[in-house]
Symmetry: C2
Subunit: 258 residues, 2 copies
DNA sequence: ATACAACAATTCGTCATACCTTTAAGACGA
DNA sequence: TCGTCTTAAAGGTATGACGAATTGTTGTAT
């Protein structure tokens, strides 16, 4: 009953079992603000006692949290929560924790603001650089969107695939990484966007816009690709804001057992 | 004057001693491409033997590398190098390792490409949002640049401070994080840029450009701030390319003991 | 021969315990 | 008041043993 669902989270994190439990639990506690920056965590033996695990496991979990910038570990001093500006926000786990702790809205808005900046630029680069495989990926994503107008989940996934493909086609390693880090989080955002009661026409319009981006990239028209992509992102932004306002808030996706 | 030298790396990583040694060594080995993606690392006991440390320390180091996305650890299978697209490129250590392993040039160019995208946008946001403290930081950085025309190192640092202040003033958590992650690496880039024999006039022109950005932000003229900032970044880009071509390559900065 | 079930071997995962190293903080003396 | 010494608290490292997961193989029945 415990790993029963893995709802949308990446279980590919290569860490399982006890440590994963500790990392998740403490990570969420910190991101959720239950221990404030500057404050101390219990000592390693104490944590071990709390979770009924050995100090070894606690320490390995702490190393991971430290690598994510959440905590600072100092000998003789103890383990202290870092200021949020040190948190590695380009980390899928931290993004997910924000979401699960109900602090996802602000992050989502910042993220969309960033997408407004990055995605048009990525589309422009893609127009000049995309190779054959990447053109194919783009087209495939569009077609899948078209085919899945009635399946919100699959539609969202195809939508995501399209945007990731654009990042990839930009041939910039940072943009590529950004896409892959953010993809889990973005999938959630897309699903929320769809909760805004958008009729079938709205979805079809969305597909058409995406298709225009695709064709602009295909023709090598960077400027048009960028402009259209900006429209796509802004369109999504307003859907998201609408969905957030209309109550169906983030947290209904983040519930889970434990 | 004792933290005075810390060559250029951030030793603030809260990890010291044995583990740090292992992390650095293996991290550089992987980023340097000496073990290819998909290949296996030695088993934990073997690594322990190689480095003359206990399995405990090896494992804690591995956890960190795994959190950075460099390796994938699986029970009974072993530890395998991940594909580069999984590497967390928004990580100061990984950026530094790229640099130290002589693979920094490509990364630097991708990074500058990203700055061309992000910084004008950040400047535009800053023009609308910067608070009083942030205005002060910007002004202070400009003045320091002006004062340090003869001290390349200090000039570079002030230059960096200015750009970081712009990210901060954008009030977007992702942009802020990006600045802080990239700052170490960027400092190196700025120093390299200065190796392009730029006379005093060139530096003064640079200061003047930065100042125009500052004033545009001050007046709340987002568009002008963005345009001028783009000029600044492009100016830096051409200096960097010139410096890279003229031989004085990256690696003379990355030498160190050990 | 093929399919499937049981088993063994390997590698990471966890545990318990002991001791080392660093460093904050108080005691002490100049 | 200042600098030095002592000490105790917290993390850092070392061993050795056993647990758990997964792969590959062996063996058996069809």
């Amino acid at each position: 009953m415990d790993n029963a669902y893995e709802p949308l989270s990446g279980s590919r994190s290569s860490i399982r079992g006890l440590q994963k439990t500790i990392i998740e639990s403490i990570g969420r506690t910190l991101v959720g603000g239950k221990i404030l920056p500057g404050e101390f965590l219990p000592t390693e033996p104490e944590l071990g006692a709390n979770y009924n695990v050995s100090r070894t496991s606690v320490r390995e979990a702490m190393r991971v949290l430290s690598a994510k910038g959440l905590i600072e570990i100092r000998q003789k001093v103890g383990t202290r929560v870092q200021e949020p500006e040190h948190w590695n926000i380009f980390d899928s786990d931290i993004l997910r924790w924000h979401h699960e702790e109900g602090r996802g809205d602000a992050v989502m808005l910042d993220l969309i603001e960033l997408r407004q900046i990055l995605e048009p630029a990525a589309a422009k680069l893609a127009a000049n650089r995309a190779n054959m495989d990447q053109h194919r990926s783009l087209k495939l994503a569009i077609q899948t969107m078209q085919d899945q107008l009635d399946s919100p989940e699959d539609f969202a996934r195809a939508d995501l695939d399209f945007h990731l493909a654009v990042y990839e086609a930009s041939q910039n390693s940072f943009l590529l990484q950004f896409g892959s880090v953010v993809s889990d989080f973005l999938r959630r955002v897309f699903i929320i966007q769809q909760q805004a009661v958008r009729g079938r026409e709205a979805l079809e319009l969305d597909v058409q816009l995406h298709n225009e981006v695709y064709e602009a990239i295909n023709r090598g028209d960077g400027q048009l690709a960028a402009d259209t992509m900006l429209t796509v992102v802004l369109e999504g932004k307003s859907s998201l804001i609408e969905a957030l306002k209309s109550g169906a808030n983030s947290n209904d996706l983040s519930r889970r057992g434990e």
